[in-house]
C-alpha cells in the first residue's frame, strides 16, 4: 500500500473542538450582518427573524447531529446527500457548502484587514487580507487540532465579551434607552416583518459545518451531537443578548445600517473597557470565522475529490500532519480570487442562497436516512433526535419560506443560483449512476438498507423456488 493510500485523517478532536468550529464560524454574524433585519422590519422584525431562523437552525442542527454521528464522514452535508439522496443532490450540497464557506472566508479576511486599517490608517488592505488567508491556510495545513484550538480561544474571548457586556447592561452599569424599542418597533408594517426574515440566518449561518469534522473526532457519536447542540445553545443565547444590547443602545434607524452593531452599542455605552472588549471581539470573531471556513471548505472539497466529483488529486492526505493538504492549499487561491474579484457582495449573497439550499437538503437527507434505516437498525444511529422526521419536514418548510423572501432585493442572485445548481444537478446525476447502488454499506459497518434487504430476501426466495 502506498503512503498516499495509508495516510488518513487523524482522529483527535473532542466536543469542544466541534463547538469551536461551529460557533467560531457563526459568531461573526452576531457581531455584524444580522442588523439588516432591523432596516427591513425594525426591532420586531429582528426579533421575529431571530426566532424563526433560530427554530429552523435548532431543527437543522438536530438533523445534522443525527446524520453526523451516524456517518462520521468529513464531507458532512455532502456525504449525507450522497449516501441518502443521490449523486445530483450530493454535488449540489458539496458545491454549495464549498461556495458558502470559501466566500465567507474571503469576506472575513477583508473585514479583518479593514478593521486593522481603521486602527492603523497607513496599513494597506491588500497585504493584510493576503496575510490572514495565508496564515490561516498555514495553520490548517499543519493540523486540525491546532486550528480548532485556536478557534476555541478566539471564539471564547468574543463570546465572553458579549456576555460581560450584557450583564453589565442588565445590572444597570450602562445607561439604556428603552424608548428605542418602541420608536423603531415596526417601521415598514407587516411586509417588513416578512422581508426581515431574509437576514435572520446571519445569527446562525454555518453552524451545520460543525459536523464536518466528524471524521477527525475521537468519539464522533458523542462529540458531534454534544458539540453541535452546545454550539446552537451558545448561539441562541448570544443572539438574544446581542439583539437586546443593540436595540436598547442604538436607535433602530441607525442599527439597520450599522457596520459593526455590537461595537457601536459598546461605543454608545461610553465605557472604555467594553469598547475595547467588543472591538477586540469583532476582530477575533472574523479570524475565528475565516479559520473555521478554511477547515470546512477544505473538507468539503476533499470529500468531493475522494468520490471523484472533482479531480481525485485533491484527496491526498499529508503523511505527517494528517490533513487534506492539497484541498487546504486549494482554498487559498480561490479565497484570494473571491476577495479581490470586486463582486464580494454578490458572492456573499450567493453563499447565503447556497446555505439555504443546504438547509432544504439536510433535513431531506435525514428523512431518507430514517426511511432506509428505521429505528430497529439502531446500530447505525448512535444519536436519535426527538420528534423526527416531523421537525425535518418543518425545517424544510421554514427554509423554503426564508429562501422565498430573498426574491425581494436578490431576484437575479436567486435565479442565477438555481440555474447554477440545476446544471450541477443534471450534470452529476448523468455522470454518476445511482449512489444507493454504489454505496457499500458493509464497508462503513452498516447493515443493508430497508429496501435492499427486501430485495435480497426476494432474490433468495426466487433462487430457492428456481432450484
Amino acid at each position: 500500500m502506498s503512503e498516499h493510500q495509508s495516510a488518513s485523517l487523524v482522529k483527535t478532536l473532542r466536543p469542544f473542538h466541534v463547538w469551536a468550529l461551529g460557533v467560531g464560524i457563526v459568531l461573526v454574524g452576531e457581531y455584524m450582518g444580522w442588523n439588516f433585519t432591523a432596516a427591513k422590519g425594525g426591532i420586531l422584525g429582528s426579533l421575529l427573524a431571530m426566532l424563526v431562523a433560530g427554530t429552523m437552525y435548532v431543527m437543522i442542527s438536530l438533523c445534522a447531529s443525527e446524520l453526523g454521528s451516524a456517518t462520521k464522514l468529513a464531507g458532512g452535508p455532502y456525504d449525507w446527500a450522497r449516501l441518502f439522496i443521490g449523486p445530483g443532490a450530493a454535488a449540489i450540497v458539496g458545491l454549495a457548502v464549498y461556495m458558502e464557506y470559501i466566500a465567507l472566508e474571503a469576506a472575513d479576511a477583508i473585514v479583518v484587514a479593514v478593521i486593522a486599517q481603521s486602527i492603523f490608517p497607513e496599513l494597506q488592505v491588500f497585504p493584510v487580507t493576503l496575510l490572514v488567508i495565508a496564515l490561516l491556510t498555514f495553520i490548517n495545513y499543519r493540523g486540525v487540532v491546532a486550528a480548532l484550538t485556536l478557534n476555541f480561544v478566539l471564539t471564547m474571548i468574543a463570546f465572553i465579551a458579549i456576555v460581560a457586556f450584557f450583564f453589565a447592561t442588565a445590572s444597570g452599569t450602562v445607561d439604556i434607552h428603552p424608548e428605542y424599542l418602541f420608536q423603531g418597533a415596526l417601521p415598514n408594517g407587516m411586509i417588513g416583518l416578512f422581508a426581515a426574515l431574509q437576514f435572520g440566518p446571519w445569527f446562525y449561518l454555518g453552524i451545520e459545518g460543525a459536523a464536518m469534522c466528524a471524521e477527525e473526532c475521537k468519539h464522533p457519536s458523542r462529540a458531534v451531537p454534544l458539540g453541535q447542540q452546545a454550539g446552537m445553545i451558545t448561539l441562541l443565547i448570544g443572539a438574544a443578548m446581542t439583539l437586546y444590547l443593540c436595540s436598547v443602545l442604538i436607535p433602530a434607524d441607525l442599527l439597520g445600517v450599522s457596520v459593526y452593531p455590537l461595537f457601536e452599542a459598546a461605543q454608545n455605552s461610553k465605557i472604555s473597557i467594553f469598547i475595547a472588549a467588543l472591538g477586540l471581539g469583532t476582530f477575533l470573531t472574523c479570524i475565528a470565522s475565516a479559520n473555521g471556513c478554511v477547515c470546512d471548505s477544505s473538507r468539503s472539497w476533499f470529500a468531493l475529490s475522494r468520490d471523484k466529483y472533482v479531480s481525485s488529486w485533491f484527496s491526498a492526505v499529508h503523511p505527517r500532519y494528517n490533513t487534506p493538504y492539497r484541498a487546504v492549499i486549494f482554498t487559498m487561491p480561490v479565497a484570494i480570487g473571491f476577495a479581490f474579484s470586486g463582486f464580494l457582495d454578490q458572492v456573499i449573497t450567493f453563499s447565503i442562497i447556497s446555505g439555504l439550499l443546504c438547509y432544504v437538503l439536510i433535513p431531506f437527507s435525514l428523512i431518507r436516512f430514517r426511511r432506509l434505516f428505521p429505528e430497529t437498525t439502531s446500530k447505525v444511529r448512535p444519536f436519535v433526535g426527538p420528534l423526527q422526521p416531523y421537525i425535518a419536514y418543518f425545517a424544510i418548510a421554514i427554509s423554503i419560506i426564508i429562501l422565498s423572501t430573498l426574491f425581494w432585493g436578490y431576484k437575479y442572485n436567486l435565479i442565477f443560483a438555481f440555474v447554477f445548481y440545476g446544471i450541477a444537478y443534471f450534470y452529476f446525476s448523468h455522470r454518476h449512476s445511482s449512489s444507493t447502488a454504489e454505496n457499500n454499506w458493509a464497508e462503513i459497518g452498516w447493515p443493508l438498507p430497508k429496501g435492499s434487504e427486501n430485495t435480497g430476501i426476494e432474490k433468495e426466495v426466487i433462487g430457492v423456488g428456481n432450484d
Binding site: F120, L123, P127, A134, T137, F138, Y141, A316, I329
Partner: protein, 34 residues
C-alpha cells in the same frame, strides 16, 4: 523610506513566505510519493 511602507512590505513578505512554505512542503510530499 516611510516606516509604514516597510511594515506593509514586511506583511507582504510574511504572507508570501507562508504561501511559499506550504506550497514547497506540499510539492516535497508529492515528490516523495512519486
Amino acid at each position: 523610506m516611510d516606516i509604514w511602507t516597510i511594515i506593509n512590505g514586511l506583511i507582504y513578505l510574511l504572507a508570501f513566505g507562508l504561501m511559499g512554505w506550504v506550497v514547497l512542503d506540499a510539492s516535497k510530499v508529492s515528490k516523495r510519493r512519486g
